[in-house]
């Protein structure tokens, strides 16, 4: 197994072209345990962290640009970012342990394509886009379109994510992410729920709800989004959010949780995340009032 640490995307692409059995990595927090657990070693490992764009964070002209290999600890420690996207920040802060978070990244978390990736639902409800490097130049895709199944992505061979783009949320918006693990850290979500919503006065103007670890990929919950839109988050709405979230699940029975448990808890977490997002949004200036 060889190791290379290119400093430009072109160099990285060339390395990937040079060896069909190559693999990119950022923090390697999934890669190393997988190899230790017996997954075949790639012949070439390409470390992306030396490429400046992959670890840069900027906020210009209403758009956040976050390098795909940026350590999640740099995002949770970024007060401006965390205030704009509190749910995405808390999702980023749940990956592994403090030590892991100095290595873990959105790019790695997403491309590992675990159904339980914590950052994925929060990226998706915030409409994150991924800028992807490939042999034929750069392209942009919705973060929601990257993962196609457990361990599977839509990235072509030789492609990798350079950075993520996030537009400033509209006024009166906020987000929240909750997950259920049997412990308090160092664990993998049994259920994850992300909600992003925008308030117009007392009412929800629009909402997005996404669930992790309850299906092969992150699932959006249109029924919950429709129930939230126009509502004041009254009890009937919250009950409808729960029911829609439970219905949207397509989980498996495994050592981490049963189908019934995941359905039940998905409903609970979606409802609670909506309430938290709304509470946060209320403390933001609402549309037309600022």
């Amino acid at each position: 197994m060889r190791y290379a640490a290119p400093t430009t995307t072109d160099e990285a692409l060339e390395l990937l072209r040079s060896d069909p059995d190559s693999q990119v990595f950022a923090g390697a927090t999934d890669l190393i345990p997988q190899i230790r657990a017996g997954r075949p070693e790639p012949s070439l490992l390409v470390d992306l962290k030396r490429i400046e764009r992959l670890v840069a964070v900027s906020h210009d002209n209403g758009t956040w640009t976050v390098g795909a290999a940026t350590p999640t600890s740099a995002l949770t420690a970024n007060a401006e970012f965390s205030s704009a996207f509190p749910g995405l920040s808390e999702a980023s802060g749940l990956i592994g342990s403090d030590q892991i978070q100095n290595r873990s990244s959105w790019g790695g978390n997403l491309c590992n394509a675990s159904p339980a990736a914590d950052s994925a639902p929060a990226l998706i409800v915030n409409d994150a886009r991924a800028v992807i490097a490939g042999a034929s130049g750069e392209r942009t895709a919705a973060a929601a379109d990257i993962v196609t199944g457990p361990g599977e992505t839509s990235l072509a061979a030789g492609e990798f994510i350079i950075e993520f783009l996030l537009d400033d949320p509209p006024a009166g918006s906020s987000d929240a992410y909750l997950r259920l693990i049997p412990r308090t850290e160092m664990d993998i979500a049994v259920v994850g729920a992300a909600v992003q919503l925008t308030l117009d006065g007392d009412r929800v103007a629009s909402a997005k709800v996404a669930l992790g670890a309850v299906a092969p990929t992150v699932v959006r919950v249109p029924g919950a989004e429709a129930a939230l839109a126009g509502s004041t988050l009254d009890d009937d709405t919250l009950a409808a959010v729960s029911a829609a979230a439970s219905d949207a699940c397509n989980p498996i029975d495994d050592k981490r949780g049963t189908i019934q448990y995941r359905r039940q808890v998905a409903g609970v977490l979606a409802r609670r995340a909506a309430q938290i997002a709304a509470q946060r949004a209320r403390s933001q200036p609402t549309q037309g009032n600022s």
């Binding site: 259920l180 049997p182 412990r183 850290e185 050592k255 049963t258 808890v265 609970v268």
Partner: protein, 743 residues
């Protein structure tokens, strides 16, 4: 905090010096077995059965032997052929299968090669032809009529039965008239409890290095709870005499009972002998979980009766403990641990089973936590039904000195009542239960044992001292040995160097088990010091030309006729002229290990929509007799509590239908992490053990006994749901809450 009835005060005993091995351990300098590397050393890898039960038709290692770097391969055919009645038969067969693989992960061959990667590749190339056999995976399957036999070499212990059986042991004992007891009862409660197999979870995987010499002798560096036992077990597995084996103890990264047996050393010795090179063998975490010491899964029915006045009239229980692939005593010790209450009528059936799962090993107060889950849950329900305080009900029925244990033997001087009162009087128990939370209490008992220990105390020429013992330092025992020696000699504790010597440098010493090291090895240290003091007095008499009868030992010095004073450095400086080096050795088979009782209280909050349990506050009181080093007593209390909490809430072996462990890693075998726990407040109760010179009771084990029922009782108080099945994980607890059924 300490609640003491100790009438004596000491200068060193009861203080909290930095442990002698502490700096090296916190800086990473301490050497554990896997840290050792020798010139020319090979690395070994094990071939493990992919079947839960299979006949080994043939093993072809020719491809493996031809691979790069491979220097030796061994299989069951290379080991001593022990008779099934040999006491080490099961241990020996467990570390290398003979004829049949008895569980998924059972070792069938081993390979040594120049690098670890070469060894792993060669192990994968060993061709084993298996004929799969029907497997028995659970207690229910083992005891079912017509069940396949899990291990044809098993004969039921205590039964006299000569036929192969899935029963590992059968015991019945009790007293009084069980029917009369139930007739006298106003309240009778009966429940069935189930617990999953759990692992000791020591942080250090098993590891050793073995180096076989041209003289046919082997040196082993190993992490264990007792290197003399490593020697004797290795000798038995190889059919060697013990003088051919020297075991040098490495530091140990946790054992909790799981390192009272061995898995690797005879394999490494044989590989080393074949290859004529040192061989290092280190397990991965997955191997540790798949194939070393889980504590038994259980199925326990228990029925209790009490009068409306709160007098417990009777207890009847049938306890099934699964030993995994071989016979064992786990059911017996579980039943024997029912010893905390005056039970005029008692009937216990203890039944061990054998299944095609990993051979179980001792785990901290072996079998007592599972038994306490059943008994302490029923006592809590009794208190609830009677409307009395759960500690008052226990105080009313608590055993005191002279009351019978389960086996009928009278308790010696014990501190159960004092420990109950310590919790009853605690700040925690007297604080209001937080809004929405539930409070639970439960108790635990463990016998503790004595066994054989040796110690040598050497005085150096400048008056410093070395204390040499054969007990590995698992929980701060070096510091405890030094403290007792300091107290005896009147020598500052930092002038004493406590060491753990190899099997050829100190007298025989049994395994550190049964919370015995501070008690028994400590007593050997005290005895050696007392012998040394007699010698010091003699030397002082010689120096001063006085009658030894007129020499007293006072505060670290010989005092002659009440005036002239000679300190230890003054005496050792003259040693050459007064008879030579000053040293003393003591060996003993310690009797009178004092039982230790513990009482725990916990406040928990349960999220009734997700089934998550949060422990808000936890206090544990335990009788230490006398705390030699209170910090390490508190550490034992806290560590036992945490392991019990993990067992209660999330830990479990999950097997698939083929007997493959599905969660063989710390991600999915969920031990608690630090953020899961509040501070465990430890209250040390001191009711001195009259059989130890300082009153020591072993403290290592009892702390794991109460947590499971403490949390189950707290969860019942918070939710109204009685959990009778472990673990009380969020999915199970939510199912019980929403389904209204018992867990």
């Amino acid at each position: 905090m300490t609640v003491t009835e100790n009438p004596r005060t000491y200068k060193y005993v009861g203080t909290r010096p930095v442990r002698h091995d502490g700096l090296d351990k916190v800086t990473g300098k301490a050497r554990f077995a896997a840290d050792l590397d020798m010139t020319g050393q090979l690395r070994a890898a094990l071939v493990r059965s992919p079947h839960a039960h299979a006949r080994i038709v043939s093993i072809d290692a020719s491809k493996a032997e031809a691979m790069p770097g491979v220097k030796a391969v061994v299989t069951g055919a290379d080991f001593a052929d022990l008779d099934p009645t040999h006491p080490e038969f099961d241990m020996a067969v467990n570390l290398m299968a003979r004829g049949e693989a008895l569980y998924n992960g059972h070792v069938v061959a081993a390979v040594a090669a120049v690098t670890a990667a070469q060894a792993a590749a060669a192990a994968a190339a060993v061709e084993v032809d298996y004929e799969p056999l029907p497997a028995v995976l659970t207690i229910d399957e083992a005891i079912a009529k017509g069940a396949p036999i899990a291990n044809t070499t098993n004969r039921t212990l205590f039964s006299g039965d000569a036929e192969p059986s899935n029963l590992a042991s059968v015991n019945e004992f009790g007293r009084g008239d069980i029917e009369a007891g139930f007739e006298a009862a106003d309240i009778i409660i009966e429940r069935e409890f189930r617990t999953a197999a759990v692992h000791q979870g020591y942080i250090e995987p098993h590891a050793c290095v073995a180096d076989c010499g041209q003289d046919g002798k082997a040196v082993i560096w190993a992490s264990s709870q007792g290197h003399f036992a490593v020697r004797s077990k290795t000798a038995a597995a190889l059919g060697w005499s013990t003088d051919r084996i020297k075991v040098i103890p490495a530091e140990i990264g946790g054992g909790f009972g799981g390192k009272t047996t061995i898995y690797l050393e005879p394999v490494a010795v044989l590989l080393s002998q074949k290859a004529a090179r040192p061989v290092k063998l280190v397990m991965s975490r997955e191997e540790v979980l798949r194939a070393t010491g889980p504590a038994p899964a259980t199925k326990i029915t228990a029925k209790i009766g009490a009068t409306n006045d709160g007098e417990i009239t009777t207890l009847q229980s049938t306890m099934y403990f699964d030993n995994g692939s071989t016979k064992g005593f786990s059911a017996l010790t579980g039943a024997m641990s029912v010893a905390s209450y005056k039970l005029p009528n008692l009937e216990l059936h203890a039944i061990g089973t054998v299944t095609n799962t990993a051979r179980s090993a001792a785990y901290r107060a072996p079998s007592a936590p599972q038994a306490a889950f059943a008994v302490e849950t029923l006592i809590d329900e009794l208190a609830q039904r009677l409307g009395v305080d759960p500690i008052d009900l226990r105080l009313q029925n608590a055993v005191v000195e002279g009351d019978a244990t389960a086996m009928g033997m009278p308790h010696p001087k014990i501190g159960f009542v004092e420990t109950l009162e310590a919790i009853k009087n605690s700040d925690h128990y007297n604080s209001p239960v937080p809004e929405g939370a539930g409070r639970g209490v439960a108790t635990g008992f463990w016998f503790n044992i004595g066994e054989q220990s040796s110690a040598t105390v050497n005085l150096n020429e400048d008056g410093t001292a070395t204390v040499v013992t054969g007990s590995p330092d698992i929980g701060g025992s070096r510091a405890s040995m030094a403290l007792m020696a300091a107290e005896e000699l009147g020598l500052a504790v930092d002038r004493i160097t406590p060491i753990v010597a190899d099997t050829e440098s100190v007298g025989f010493t049994d395994i550190t088990e049964g919370s015995r090291a501070t008690f028994a090895t400590g007593m050997a240290v005290v005895n050696a010091c007392r012998e040394l003091i007699e010698e010091l007095k003699q030397r002082a008499a010689t120096i001063k030309s006085a009658d030894v009868e007129r020499v007293e030992w006072v505060d670290g010095a010989a005092v002659i006729e009440g005036e002239d004073r000679l300190t230890i450095p003054e005496i050792t400086a003259m040693a050459k002229n007064t008879g030579g080096p000053l040293t003393a050795t003591a060996s003993l088979n310690a009797a009178g290990a004092g039982p230790s009782f513990a009482v725990h209280v916990a406040d928990v909050a349960v999220d009734e929509e997700t089934g998550e349990t949060t422990i808000l506050r936890y206090t544990a009181a335990q009788d230490a007799g006398t705390a030699i080093h209170p910090s390490y007593v508190e550490g034992q209390i806290q560590g036992g509590s945490v392991q019990g909490i993990g067992w209660a809430l999330n830990e479990e072996y999950i097997y698939d239908s083929n007997g493959v462990m599905e969660n063989a890693g710390f991600l999915d075998y969920r031990m608690p992490v630090a953020s899961d726990l509040p501070m465990i407040d430890a209250i040390i109760v001191e009711v001195p053990n009259p059989s130890h010179p300082y009153g020591v009771r072993g403290v290592g084990e009892t702390g794991i006994v109460p947590p499971i029922p403490t949390l189950a009782n707290a969860i019942a108080a918070a939710t109204g749901v009685r959990m009778t099945s472990l673990p009380m994980s969020p999915p199970r607890l939510l199912a019980a809450i929403t389904g209204g059924a018992d867990g």
